[in-house]
């Protein structure tokens, strides 16, 4: 705070000394003008988020204290939905699966995208084509991605099993085995998202000043040392962002793929929490119960993002300089 104030003073003095004419114009004080400007700049987004995100969320939390029929009738049941959640083994199974999913997906996706980011940062002929190729999966809608992989992972005719048979192995039922289906879901998600985070990493990498690398080269640093001492620390804001975004996306997303690939099966093997919530709300009309679980999920994400925030020291969050 004190540094901010100091800077404020410095700027203020600079302003008054350099442009004396401005001092006799009748107007709000500099500080208040800045407040006003900030308010106006923020107004559209803040209002929009309030109306289309915050109010619905509050509304959803309110709903979680009601028994909802799905046909317009509501009955106050206090914490009933939360008690039900606590005692619902299917919900906790789905949380466990979500946990596995996130714990595997996020690091894998992080490493793959960072690796691709480092690769496509290189200056090679035709790099534009490679970048486009790697980004390509992200362009296709998830429903179609689901259909494509469903065909490719088919037991009898799928490309993957054909290749395995050609290599002398037995084909597998990729989407029909509880032990494999979640892995397939993760793999497909990585395939879709890697290009997206690759671009984010690429942008982060490009922001690192070249002089640093040149200096490291003069010092005779190898690629690993360079990465560890320059790239990794300076990439922290981007890493934070990717980590956080992919975690949130892993917890809240994936529905479209699940619908097409497995519909939560086999044997609830891909029934992530978000899928279970969807099922309760839109399949079974249990909006109150779904809202309770949804609110709980949001709470978990708040805690998780606080942890990630702490661990990565928020990237560039606080050092506003």
């Amino acid at each position: 705070m004190s540094s901010v104030a100091a800077q404020e003073n410095r700027r203020a003095t600079v302003a008054t000394t350099r442009t004396p004419a401005s001092s006799d114009r009748p107007r709000l004080s500099r500080k208040h003008r800045e407040w006003l400007a900030a308010g106006l700049f923020l107004a559209p987004d803040v209002l929009g988020l309030l109306i289309f995100v915050a109010i619905p969320m509050v509304f959803s939390i309110v709903l979680s204290f009601f028994q909802v029929s799905g046909f317009g009738s509501y009955e106050w049941i206090g914490l009933g939905n939360y008690r039900r959640m606590m005692n619902d083994p299917l919900f906790w199974d789905s949380m466990k699966i979500t946990g596995e999913y996130v714990v595997i997906l996020v690091p894998v996706l992080f490493c793959v995208s960072l690796g691709l980011g480092l690769l496509v940062k290189q200056k090679l002929p035709g790099m534009g084509a490679y970048r486009t190729a790697l980004f390509l999966p992200y362009v296709i809608s998830l429903v179609v991605v689901g259909v494509l992989w469903k065909f490719m992972l088919d037991e009898q005719t799928g490309v993957v099993n054909r290749a395995m048979r050609a290599a002398g192995f037995d084909g597998k039922s990729w989407l029909g085995s509880p032990s494999l289906a979640l892995g397939c879901l993760i793999a497909v998600t990585v395939w879709v998202m890697m290009g997206y985070y690759m671009i984010i990493f690429l942008a982060g990498l490009q922001e690192i000043p070249k002089e640093f690398y040149e200096a490291a080269k003069l010092d005779g640093a190898g690629p690993w040392t360079t990465f560890r001492t320059i790239t990794w620390p300076l990439l922290r804001p981007t890493s934070f962002f990717v980590l956080l975004m992919s975690t949130v996306a892993a917890i809240t997303g994936g529905l479209d793929l699940i619908f097409v690939l497995t519909n939560g099966g086999p044997a609830n093997g891909t029934s992530l929490a978000i899928f279970y919530i969807y099922q309760q709300a839109f399949g079974f009309g249990e909006y109150g119960y779904a809202s309770a679980m949804g609110s709980f999920l949001v709470l978990i994400m708040v805690v998780l993002s606080a942890v990630i925030f702490k661990l990565t020291r928020g990237g560039r969050f606080d050092d506003g300089e």
């Binding site: 350099r18 700049f41 929009g48 190729a133 390509l136 809608s141 429903v143 179609v144 005719t157």
Partner: protein, 286 residues
């Protein structure tokens, strides 16, 4: 502008040479990874030339080759209309979102006002809200505002997303302050600083975000489905879904339609990715 000079400098300092062997290795790696990445998409494209009866046969090359799927998609279904709807909606959302988000992000990164971190925290927290949880309340809000079954209803709720604000704020925090300060010294208001200096400097990040926003909305499905009944408002992803029927799905049409839907996005990315990279170079002021 100053950025041109920067661009030239960046170009001259860029041409570093690597040993041939490592270049070859990297090229091979890039090619292999690209092939892995592209293969399913190629499969989609070739399958879109298959007939109804062979589309599920698992072959890469069609045994029975047909253009009929594409002809059908464009003649029997108002696919042009769907494309236009998606294009229009995505474009408006993208422009409006970039504008609002950059304004908000600028305020959060650069302007000083009480409760700044709290406002940012609150905006950030909206990222954690997921659509299935708030779909019903959102529908009620949209109805209350008279937004159902209209372009406005497809556009307005989709504009507001903290993701862009967050990314832009990070970007602005990293920008050097000198130019802005000089402008303020010259007596510019905050609006003019934003409009004349900050916005032009944001071009690289805005073009990257533009693609992400455009794509996300091009592929939007759930909200358009719930918020509209009017056939004239059908967006492309709903159009693709309509090829699925009760017990059988016409995968050949679905894949042809998906190919058509993906094509403009690919071109867009291919063209823009150069620009993103170029812009990132030009903005490499530090």
């Amino acid at each position: 502008m100053a950025s041109d000079a920067m661009a030239r400098r960046a170009h001259t300092s860029a041409g570093r040479r690597r040993p041939l062997s490592s270049r070859t290795g990297l090229t091979v790696l890039a090619v292999v990874l690209s092939l892995i990445s592209v293969f399913p998409v190629v499969w989609m494209v070739t399958s879109s030339f298959k007939t109804r009866a062979t589309v599920t046969d698992g072959n890469l090359i069609p045994r029975e080759f047909t253009f009929q799927n594409f002809v059908y998609v464009f003649t029997e279904v108002p696919f042009g209309r769907y494309l236009w709807n998606s294009f229009f909606i995505s474009a408006v959302i993208t422009v409006a979102a970039l504008f609002f988000h950059s304004m908000a992000a600028y305020a959060l990164a650069r302007l000083r006002f009480p409760g700044r971190e709290k406002v940012f925290g609150a905006i950030f927290a909206t990222l954690l809200v997921t659509i299935p949880v708030v779909l019903i309340p959102l529908f009620l809000v949209a109805r209350q505002l008279g937004l159902l079954d209209s372009y406005a209803g497809l556009i307005i709720p989709a504009i507001f997303n903290a993701f862009g604000i967050f990314l832009l704020r990070q970007f602005y925090l990293g920008l050097p302050k000198e130019l802005e300060e000089a402008a303020i010294v010259d007596g510019c208001g905050h609006w003019r600083v934003y409009w004349n200096i900050v916005l032009p400097m944001s071009r690289p990040i805005l073009s990257a975000l533009a693609i992400f926003f455009f794509l996300a909305n091009w592929n939007a499905f759930v909200w358009p489905l719930v918020a509209t009944n009017n056939q004239d408002l059908t967006v492309i992803q709903l159009g693709i879904a309509s090829f699925q029927t009760q017990y059988t799905s016409n995968w050949n049409y679905i894949l042809a339609a998906a190919t058509v839907a993906a094509l403009p996005m690919l071109v867009l990315f291919f063209v823009f990715q150069r620009q993103i990279v170029e812009s990132i170079k030009t903005s490499g002021l530090k």
